[in-house]
Amino acid sequence: MTRYAVDKILWTYGRDPEYRARFNDDPAQTIAGEELNESERSALAAKDIRAIFTAGAHPFLIYSFAIQMNGGWSYQFMLDYVDRLKGLELGNIET
């Protein structure tokens, strides 16, 4: 299932500074070789938290990814993050 690749990208982004720098610079190129469906690929390339959530990525990994992308956590960041997920329902996240 390609959902695993989405989670792996989010996980790697959080752990590997070199990968994070490449992804920040050119996400589409960084994930070009990954096995992803089109909606997953476009969500990640656009760093679109809402679309990544809708694709079924693990919420804990999305949150960690968003915190890293933000350069750290703040209360306002958390409010903005939740606002981006407004109205969404939890779905299946098994890989």
Binding site: Y4, D7, K8, W11, G14, F53, H58, P59, F60, L61, I62, Y63, S64, G72, W73, M78, L79, Y81, V82, L85, K86, G87, L88, E89, L90, I93, E94, T95
Partner: protein
């Protein structure tokens, strides 16, 4: 025969040590103070129980275990428990922890668990994340006891249904008691009530600190209705209450280790300071049919 002299189930919310630091300066959110008070009560209870070692049950939060090889139940049997991850220390100001692991007890739990039907994974190289170190830091700040870490998967589905967490809790308790020593063992488990870290419901606890589910589950805890608690503790039912709520399975494990004994202490804290959290404790008498 080793004796379980203390069983405690508490949260591992990283805002709690932050609140503890702020409380020392008189600056903590008042909503965090009841949680800190319960942790102090349970620290004293653990001290009073005079344990020789602590078995601590936590869950990795993708710090190391991932879906390339995800253990459900794992015994950590390295020589030291080290943690949490540097990023956790940096983000939340957590205390670095480095404790000896009671290797003989870890192997008794591993092998005794296997003999009783738990197909444990095991690891000789790992980091114990905040879910291990925060409970240990609160309940045994002296860092003077050896520990045994058990990793249980509370985060990455699929996970077994609640009955298995309960059963494994009971079997681990049996394996501890059958380890052939006369040691006094404390067991610390950790988990969540309703919780939505990283999900769309993450700010719900600020508007509504105590959900209907929290109230319902807590009334079952007060009744010690472990059968019903267990029936309601499948991934799907818990996840529907917030994506972090399957963390409640850590409490189900503790009820399993108690093997039907009613808790001697049970308090829920639901304020806007942190997601609802549960403090449950069985003292030596509660665990051993009234005999301390």
């Amino acid at each position: 025969m080793a004796r379980i002299v203390n069983l405690t189930a508490i949260p591992h919310d990283p805002t709690l040590p932050i609140a503890e630091r702020l409380a020392a300066q008189g600056k903590a959110d008042p909503g965090a103070l009841p949680a800190l008070a319960h942790l102090e009560t349970l620290r004293q209870a653990l001290e009073k129980s005079r344990p020789d070692a602590i078995v601590v049950i936590g869950s990795d939060h993708f710090g190391q275990w991932f879906m390339n090889n995800m253990p459900t139940f794992m015994v950590g049997k390295a020589t030291r428990l080290k943690g949490p991850f540097p990023a956790e220390i940096m983000s939340w100001g957590l205390k670095a922890t480095d404790l000896p692991i009671e290797g003989a007890l870890a192997r008794s739990i591993l092998k005794g668990g296997m003999e009783r039907g738990i197909d444990f994974s095991y690891s000789d190289e790992f980091i114990a994340d905040h879910s291990f170190t925060i409970p240990l830091n609160f309940l045994r700040p002296q860092d003077d006891l050896p520990v045994v870490p058990l990793f249980i998967n509370l985060l990455a589905p699929p996970v077994p249904p609640g009955w298995r967490y309960r059963q494994v809790g009971g079997l681990v308790a049996e394996a501890i008691e059958a380890d052939g020593t006369d040691k006094r063992i404390a067991v610390i488990a950790t988990g969540h009530l309703s919780n939505s870290v990283g999900g769309p419901g993450m700010m719900r606890s600020v508007k509504e600190p105590e959900s209907d589910w929290d109230r319902m589950m807590w009334s079952l805890v007060r009744e010690n209705n472990v059968d019903r608690i267990t029936e309601l503790s499948t991934w799907d039912q818990l996840y529907a209450q917030g994506n972090g709520t399957p963390g409640f399975l850590g409490y189900v494990f503790a009820f399993g280790a108690a093997r039907g004994a009613p808790p001697s202490f049970a308090e829920m804290v639901a304020t806007t300071a942190q997601p609802a959290c549960a403090f449950i404790h069985w003292d030596e008498a509660a665990l051993n049919g009234g005999v301390a």
